[in-house]
Symmetry: C2
């Protein structure tokens, strides 16, 4: 059994029952600040409801005994000062913003779980050996402004005010004005950049259906997949659909169809953690009685291994070129987005594996196909991630759902991990 | 050599030289009434330039010795009354309207060729045995209002004022108002419906690249292809492109790609006169990092043989259903447009074959994949069509082009045919 908080089986069940009740209460309370008409949550960076949510969260942190602080971009920290003030902090949390018509769990779950875990540890064990902090990161989704990971990136030194100086949202409101209207911006509070963080832990919904399908309680994240995004334009000849015999056609859509099937076949053959997707495709002129002359489409490819991802993208370029050549189609392609895979910390992974085993919680190692704040923190400290199931793999939707009992398991594992990092024998 | 107008080789060359010069003059003159900024012609039904073109054409017909008349929808007839007034008329011509940013040849060539052919016959041989008429049909393209074949359909009894009573163009101008502003409409002139037509002949640019590719001077149309248009909706599951392993996807676009390739493979295997096209395709949500959940697309299938077209469409429905089922995709499909093949008159085809052979003009029998006014006339009289090459198969574009020498060959064949039908020994 666990070395720490749930040493007896009876205690594990009691803790799960408690966390189940608490996590539902906090998530419903958070969602209620930013309801939208679709039944989900819309909480865009620096919006009115974003601000009221952060302030309400600060009040709740205070009521739980945390010392609160905003940094100058609006990240909210709830701190439990440690005995050893010179030791680096353990930070845990996630992002408070959502996409438009998002759900109650993406981001919010990581904050709520961290809040409850640290509150429990503080109530039961008092002052930690080292400082522990829950963080409600101001932004991750990139849904209001063309800027993602603003919260975690600012802490990690990967984002700065220069990068947002000229950004506007869809209503032409400037990033800087929106930030300053909320009371944040350069010099408004503690500088966001941190050099005193010893570890970052994020729990999050999986946003995929692997845990649910395989009936596994938690996913221990090995790595956040690298992503490459390419766009292609295939040009054939736009012709009259009635007067152009089949053998005289250079149909761009037929060529692209062959590319899509080949991409799917090869990605399926290689299998996890590789995924590859043609998500956007537009046809010109897109008229029922005209042979398509041009097709523009995207490829999104992800893999936990940088070299394997590079090889796959090379295969894509070569294969598409061959398929185009065979059909006398022209093709141009370019990569417009490239993010390297981010490995999670081996020590934290080992802890999570052990905790799951000791608490008899089913777990599996997995790669996160989605991006997360954790990938920013990995630049500055050991970082770990834990997933809980997403029903139907659905996220970024009002239909996003994880059962209370599943949410509680994630809180329990996180609590045990934070105990080890902040209170246990190995804490320093 | 020809039995009629070009009995000596020398005469053929003289006639071709004359027609070449004349046809270019008439086509450039017509185009100049409705130039558009793209360098082509835009002459929409009942527009100002449409009206001035029809009136100018009427004046030119008069100057050539034709008796002119508009019917109540704005079809313009230039008549050479025949000796035998009780005999039915021979009608020849095409449509005066164009698509938006069309070319100088589609429609206009058929009118100009008919005008020059009848003028020549009249000048050389005088009064025909039976009445001969050139017609500038008011509308065929369906480009201004959602109504096509308005001119020929009104003559053939396939169109009537009831059908246009509530139509509007994109600027919400009513069909009836536009028609009346030009001086046409119910009771404004001769009733459009005709019962006195003995044959209709239309020469037209091919709008395909078969004649050009095969280096053949004229196409003798066997039939106008039947058309069926279907639309399909394929539904899979819209998922996160990063977190959904390949084997857990139900990717609507991947399924539709397989359908497009199968359609192409089978249509190519069957070959001419079958053609099948996926021209319009839309993806939902059409975002680079989301697996496509839904794809809507169209199939346009054409064939000269009604039964073969029916069998092919049945194959399409069954094959798409099977490909969807194999992938656990849902599919719904419906046919929203069905036009039967229209055979051209065997006697006229025989005449055209003979004339080409006697004049040593290369020709081939072909199916028109595009629709034409001829298919309306086929309901009321023996009907024939002749094609001349389209450079690059291009039409409905300012780039539409047929060389003057190729245009002249079409005029010569038409002239010989009209001689046979109106002047020759078999004329009555």
């Amino acid at each position: 059994m666990g070395q720490g908080i749930a040493a007896r089986p009876q205690e594990k069940e009691e803790l799960l029952a408690m966390f189940e009740e608490q996590i539902v209460e906090v998530l419903e309370w958070l969602a209620a600040f930013s309801p939208d008409e679709a039944g989900g949550v819309t909480r865009l960076l620096y919006s009115d409801t974003w601000l009221s949510t952060q302030h309400a969260l600060a009040e709740r942190m205070k009521s739980y005994g945390f010392v609160t602080e905003f940094d100058e971009v609006g990240n909210l920290f709830g701190k439990l000062p440690g005995e050893h003030t010179e030791a680096s902090s353990i930070l845990t949390g996630s992002h408070i913003d959502t996409v438009v018509q998002g759900g109650k769990y993406d981001g919010a779950y990581g904050i709520a779980a961290s809040l409850l875990a640290l509150r429990y540890l503080h109530d039961r064990y008092g002052k930690p050996k080292r400082t522990m902090e829950v963080v409600a990161l101001c932004e991750e989704e990139g849904s209001r402004f063309p800027m993602a990971y603003w919260g975690s990136g600012s802490i990690a030194g990967k984002r700065d005010f220069e990068q947002v100086a000229h950004l506007q949202d869809i209503d032409e409101v400037s990033f800087v004005d929106a930030m300053e209207k909320c009371g944040f911006g350069r010099g408004s509070g503690r500088s966001s950049r941190r050099h005193d963080i010893g570890a970052f832990i994020e729990v999050h919904i999986e946003q995929g259906a692997v845990l649910e399908t395989e009936k596994v309680a938690v996913g221990v994240v090995d790595a956040i997949a690298g992503q490459r995004r390419m766009k292609f334009e295939v040009t054939g000849e736009s012709n009259h659909a009635g007067t152009t015999p089949m053998h005289m056609r250079r149909d761009a859509l037929e060529g692209v169809s062959a590319m899509i099937l080949e991409l799917r076949r090869e990605a399926t053959r290689q299998g996890a953690p590789l995924v590859a997707t043609v998500g956007r495709l537009n046809v010109l002129p897109n008229v029922p009685n005209v042979v398509p002359g041009k097709v523009m489409f995207t490829v999104d490819a992800r893999h936990a291994d940088e070299a394997a991802l590079g090889l796959f993208c090379k295969w894509v370029m070569e294969t598409f070129k061959r398929l185009a050549d065979e059909r006398q189609l022209e093709i141009s392609g370019m990569e417009w987005f490239c993010e390297k895979p981010v490995p999670m910390d081996a020590g934290i992974i080992r802890h999570l594996d052990e905790i799951s085993r000791e608490l008899s919680i089913s777990s599996k190692r997995m790669v996160s196909g989605a991006g997360h704040d954790a990938q920013m923190f990995e630049h500055i400290c050991p970082t770990g991630m834990l997933f809980v199931p997403s029903r139907g793999g659905i996220s970024h939707s009002p239909l996003e759902y994880t059962a209370p009992s599943e949410l509680a398991v994630g809180v329990l594992v996180l609590t045990e991990l934070l105990y080890r990092l902040g209170y246990g024998e190995e804490a320093l």
